[in-house]
Amino acid sequence: MTNETLIPYLGEVTDIRIDTPDVKTFRVLTPDGVKPFEHMPGQCAMLSIPGVGEAMFSITSSPTNREYMEFSIKKCGCLTEWLHAMDIGQQITIRGPYGKPFPVETELKGKDLLFIAGGIGLAPLRSVINYVRDNRENYGSVQIVYGARSKDDLVDYNEIISEWMADDGVEVNLTIDREQEGWDGHVGFIPNFVKELNPDLKKTVLMCGPPVMIKFTLAGLMELGFEKTQVYTTMELKMKCGVGKCGRCNIGDKYVCKDGPVFRFDELDELPDEY
C-alpha cells in the first residue's frame, strides 16, 4: 500500500445489511480479505465509486473489530444512492483514516459516558460505544440515548437490543418521534427525552445527530447544568479532501479534517459562527 494521500486503496463490499428504509451498513475489506487500515473511534474514511463521487463517512465499526470495517450510510445523494444500489462483491475505493478521533484514550478514560444520537447520528458513535464496551474496564457508566423518527428508522436496532441492552452497565434509552404500532417504548423528541432522563451532571456527553437536534439538546443539557466542556460532537459532514489542504472545511482558523471532526462545544464556541 502506498502512503499517497490522494490515491485510494481498493476495497470490496463483502456484506450489506439493510438497517432502515434509507440506511444500509456496508462491510468493507481489501480484496485480500483483510481490514483496510486501523483507526480510532470517531475517525472517518473517504469512500468512493470512481466516476460517481468521493465522500467522507464515519467508520461505524469499532477499532476493536480486527476483521473488518463497517460504514452505516444514509441515502442522501448521488454517491450514497449508488452505494445503496450495490450488490455484494462490488469493489469501491477507500482512503483514510482521517481526522482526530474521540479522545477515548485520554480525556474520556475513566469517565461516565452519555451518548446521545439521533437517526444516522448513531453511526460515528457506534464505533465509540463498541470500543468502550470492548474496553469496559477503562470507563465508568455508559448511558445511550438514541432516537429516530420511527422504530423502523432506528439504525442497528438488532445490535442495540441483542448486545448493548444485554450488557451490564450499559443503559439504553430509545425513543421515537411519534406513536407507532408495536412500539411500547418512549415517544418524543430527543432534547425533551434527555431532560426527562435528567442524567447525572458528572457524565461526559458524546452527541451526534441532525443540527436541530444538536441545537436543542445542547440547550437542554445547559439547562440541566452541564458545561460545554463536557460535551463532544463530530462534524465529519464538512470534510472534503480529508487532508487539510483543499480549503473548504475551515471554520475560522480551524480545519475540520485536521483539527476535527471531533470538537468539544467549548472549542466550537471559540470559532466564528460559520458552520
Binding site: 444512492e81 449508488w82 444500489a85 450495490m86
Partner: protein, 663 residues
C-alpha cells in the same frame, strides 16, 4: 443505478442473418448494471414478451433494453409487456438493430459491432430513465372530415352510424367530389351517380352529419381529442337556410358565359348556379368572379326572381370555430394539367382531351347529353386513340414518378363503352404496361380486347399533330411489332396522371401532418397503420394518401371511420408523458422558452421559494401544461440553464447515448 435486462431479438433471420445476436447479448451482458442479457427468436411474439415479463419479475429489473426492430414498430408492444409485469413502461428502451443495422449492413462483424454499440447507447439511456406516468385529457366526441368526395362521405356516414357527430367541410358548393363527374364505374359498369347520390342524400339527411359546403379550413390548433378548427364559410351570397334549390335564379341569370367547371369548361353555366341536379346541399351559389351585381352593383335579377328571398349580395365570409376529437383528411385528387406536354397537342387541338373530359362527353348529364361528339366540330369520331401514362411513371422533370393506378382500368372502360355504343369506331390504346391487379380487373381488360376488339398497342406515342383536315396524326412506335405507326385519329384521349389536391399542402401544415414529396399524406405506417397520419388524431381517407380507385377509397374510408370511432369511443386519452418540464429551482423566468413553444404550453407563475437561510423569495418561473405540450423540445434548447428538460429525451439521456456511441 438500474438493474437492466437486455433482450436481443433474432427477428427470424431479419436480424440474426446479419447480426451475431448471441455475441450481442453476451457483450451487453457485461455492461455495468445489466443483470440479464438474452437473445430470442421473436421478442415481439407472445412467448418473447413473456420472456421479458418473467425477467422483470425474476431479476427485479428496473430497466429493459430490447434490441430489435425500430421503436416506431414495437416500442409500444414492449412497453405494454413491461407494464403488465409491473415495470413502468417508460423504463423500456429500444435499440434499433434491424432497420438501422441488420438491414443496411452486409458484413456480420461490422453489423454485430454496431448492434452492440446501439445496445450500449440504449443501456446508457435507460440508466437515466425515470418512471413516467401518462396524464389524461378528455375527448371531444365529434369528428371533422375535410373533403366531401366519396371518401369523405363514406367516412362521415360510417362515423355517424356509430352515433358520433361529424362535420364535413367541402370547398365546392356541393359534396360528391370527382365521382359525381363520372359516368360508369369499372369493372361493373354501374352508373356512378346511381350509387353515389343516395349516399349524398343520406349525408344531408343524417342528423349527426353537418355539411359545411363551399367552406374551407382556416386554422387548426390543439391536439388529439381536443382539436379546435376554424372553418371559413365562404360567402355564396345565398342564404342556405332559405334557398329551396328551385333553380329559378340559375335560369334567369343574364350572365350565361361562365365556363362550367363541372363539365370541365366544355360548356357554360350562369353566374348563379347549382353545379348539378343532384347537388347536396341543393343550394344556389353566386360566382362572385362573374356576377354582374357583385362586380358592378347593377343587375339583381336573381334577387328579384327568388321567391324565397334567399339572395344576399352583402353576405361575407363567416368563420365558425368548432371543436373536434379527431380529424379525417379526405382532400382527394385532381388530374394534372396536360398543357405542358406539347407532343400531345392538348393545347393545340380541341380534340385532344383528358379522360375526365371524355367521361363528361359520354355522360348523359354532360355537355353533349351523353353523345360522343368531337369537341371541335361536334361530329362523331370514328377513330379514337387513348394514350396511357400521361405524366405518370415519369422522370420528376416530366411528371409524376408514381403510377396513377386508375388509368388502365378507366381507359379499358372507355374503350369498351365506346365500342359498345359505336361499333363503327376504331379504338386504339397505347400503353407502357397494362396493370389490372384487382378483383375482376383483368377479366374486364380482356373483355375489352377480346370481346370488344379494342386495339391495345404497347408503345409510346411520340407526337400528336393536328392536320388541316381536322384529324390528328398520331405517330407512335409499336414495341412488340417493332414498327413505327401513324394513325389519323379523330379524337385523342389522354390518361392524365392524378395528383393530390392543391389544398392539401397548406392543410398538412395546419394539421402538422407529414406529406411525402408528391404531397400525398404520409401514413403512420405503410402497412400497419395505413389510414392514420403520424400526427395523433389525424386520419387519412381516399386519394389524399395515394392514388386509388373507388372500392379502395371506400374501404379506406370505412377503415378511417373505424379508427375515428375507436378514438371517439374513449372518454379520456392518455397523454404522452414525454413532455417538457421546468426545474423551478433552476428556472430564472426569462421567457425565452415560451417564445418558442408552438403550443402555448408554457406559462409563468410567481412561485415562493424558501432560501437556504430560510428567508422566502418570490420568483417568476416557467410552468408547462403537460396536456398541451407535445414534447418537441424546442424550449429545452432555448433554455440556457437547462431548467427546461424533456421527459424521455432529457439532456443527460441524449448525452449518455452520444457518449456510448462515441466511446
Amino acid at each position: 443505478m438500474q438493474r437492466i435486462g437486455v433482450f436481443v431479438c433474432h427477428c427470424g433471420t431479419n436480424i440474426a442473418g446479419t447480426v451475431d445476436v448471441k455475441a450481442v447479448a453476451e457483450a451487453l451482458g457485461r455492461e455495468p448494471s445489466v443483470v440479464t442479457s438474452v437473445d430470442y427468436q421473436y421478442m415481439c411474439s407472445e412467448s418473447g414478451q413473456n420472456l421479458i415479463k418473467d425477467a422483470i419479475r425474476d431479476y427485479k429489473l428496473t430497466g429493459v433494453v430490447v434490441c430489435s426492430c425500430s421503436p416506431r414498430m414495437h416500442e409500444n408492444t414492449f412497453r405494454k409487456a413491461a407494464a403488465a409485469a409491473g415495470l413502468n413502461p417508460y423504463m423500456v428502451e429500444i435499440a434499433n438493430i434491424r432497420e438501422q443495422c441488420s438491414w443496411i449492413h452486409k458484413d456480420v462483424a461490422e453489423a454485430t459491432e454496431k448492434a452492440i454499440i446501439l445496445g450500449r447507447a440504449a443501456i446508457a439511456k435507460v440508466q437515466l430513465n425515470a418512471p413516467l406516468v401518462a396524464g389524461e385529457s378528455p375527448v371531444i366526441k365529434r369528428a371533422l372530415v375535410i373533403g366531401g368526395g366519396i371518401a369523405g362521405i363514406q367516412t362521415a356516414l360510417d362515423i355517424a352510424d356509430a352515433g358520433f357527430e361529424v362535420d364535413i367541410v367541402e370547398k365546392q358548393p356541393t359534396i360528391g367530389g370527382k365521382m359525381t363527374q363520372l359516368d360508369k364505374t369499372f369493372p361493373t359498369l354501374d352508373c356512378a351517380a346511381c350509387i353515389l347520390t343516395p349516399k349524398m342524400v343520406e349525408c344531408a339527411q343524417n342528423e349527426l352529419i353537418n355539411i359545411y359546403s363551399y367552406s374551407e379550413v382556416d386554422a387548426v390548433s390543439g391536439f388529439v381529442g381536443n382539436f379546435s378548427v376554424k372553418i371559413r364559410k365562404k360567402a355564396r351570397y345565398v342564404d342556405e337556410t332559405k334557398c329551396t334549390g328551385c333553380g329559378l335564379c340559375t335560369e334567369k341569370c343574364p350572365q350565361k358565359k361562365v365556363p362550367n367547371e363541372f363539365n370541365l369548361g366544355m360548356d357554360n353555366r350562369r353566374a348563379v348556379y347549382i353545379p348539378f341536379a343532384q347537388a347536396v346541399p341543393k343550394v344556389a351559389t353566386i360566382d362572385a368572379d362573374y356576377c354582374t351585381m357583385l362586380k358592378t352593383g347593377k343587375c339583381g335579377v336573381c334577387s328579384k326572381v327568388c321567391t324565397a328571398g334567399a339572395i344576399n349580395y352583402k353576405q361575407t365570409d363567416e368563420i365558425v370555430e368548432r371543436q373536434y376529437g379527431a380529424i379525417v383528411v379526405a382532400t382527394g385528387f385532381n388530374p394534372i394539367k396536360v398543357d405542358k406536354y406539347d407532343e400531345y397537342a392538348y393545347g393545340q387541338s380541341k380534340d385532344v382531351i383528358t379522360s375526365l373530359e371524355f367521361e363528361r362527353l359520354t355522360n348523359a348529364a354532360g355537355p353533349t347529353s351523353g353523345k360522343l361528339l368531337r369537341p371541335s366540330d361536334g361530329k362523331h369520331p370514328h377513330k379514337i386513340v387513348f394514350i396511357q401514362c400521361v405524366g405518370s411513371r415519369c422522370t420528376p422533370e416530366k411528371g409524376k414518378s408514381y403510377c396513377s393506378k386508375i388509368c388502365c382500368m378507366y381507359t379499358a372502360k372507355h374503350a369498351m363503352l365506346t365500342r359498345e355504343k359505336y361499333p363503327d369506331t376504331e379504338v386504339y390504346v397505347f400503353y407502357i404496361d397494362v396493370r389490372t391487379p384487382g378483383k375482376n380487373f383483368d377479366e374486364f381488360y380482356r373483355r375489352a380486347t377480346e370481346e370488344y376488339g379494342v386495339h391495345y398497342i404497347k408503345g409510346m406515342v411520340g407526337k400528336v399533330s393536328p392536320k388541316a383536315d381536322g384529324t390528328l396524326e398520331v405517330q407512335a412506335s409499336d414495341l412488340i411489332m417493332n414498327e413505327q405507326l401513324r394513325i389519323d385519329a379523330d379524337l385523342v384521349v389522354l390518361a392524365a396522371a392524378i395528383e393530390p389536391d392543391k389544398s392539401a399542402r397548406p392543410l398538412a401544415t395546419m394539421l402538422t401532418a407529414s406529406m411525402d414529396t408528391n404531397d400525398f399524406f404520409t401514413e403512420a405506417h405503410p402497412k400497419l397503420r395505413p389510414v392514420e397520419s403520424p400526427t395523433a388524431g389525424i386520419f387519412l381517407s381516399g386519394a389524399c394518401q395515394g392514388p386509388k380507385d373507388i372500392p379502395e377509397t371506400v374501404s379506406q374510408a370505412g377503415a378511417a371511420a373505424a379508427k375515428v370511432i375507436g378514438l371517439l369511443a374513449k372518454n379520456k386519452l392518455t397523454c404522452n408523458p414525454c413532455v417538457a418540464h421546468s426545474d423551478e429551482l433552476l428556472c430564472n423566468g426569462c421567457s425565452q422558452c415560451a417564445n418558442v413553444c408552438p403550443y402555448g404550453a408554457i406559462t409563468y407563475i410567481e412561485k415562493e421559494f424558501v432560501m437556504p437561510d430560510r428567508s422566502k423569495k418570490i420568483r417568476r418561473v416557467a410552468s408547462v401544461n403537460p396536456a398541451v405540450c407535445q414534447g418537441c423540445g424546442a424550449c429545452t434548447v432555448t433554455c440556457p440553464s437547462g431548467a427546461m428538460d424533456l421527459h424521455g429525451f432529457s439532456n443527460r439521456q441524449i448525452m449518455a447515448e452520444v457518449d456510448a456511441i462515441c466511446k
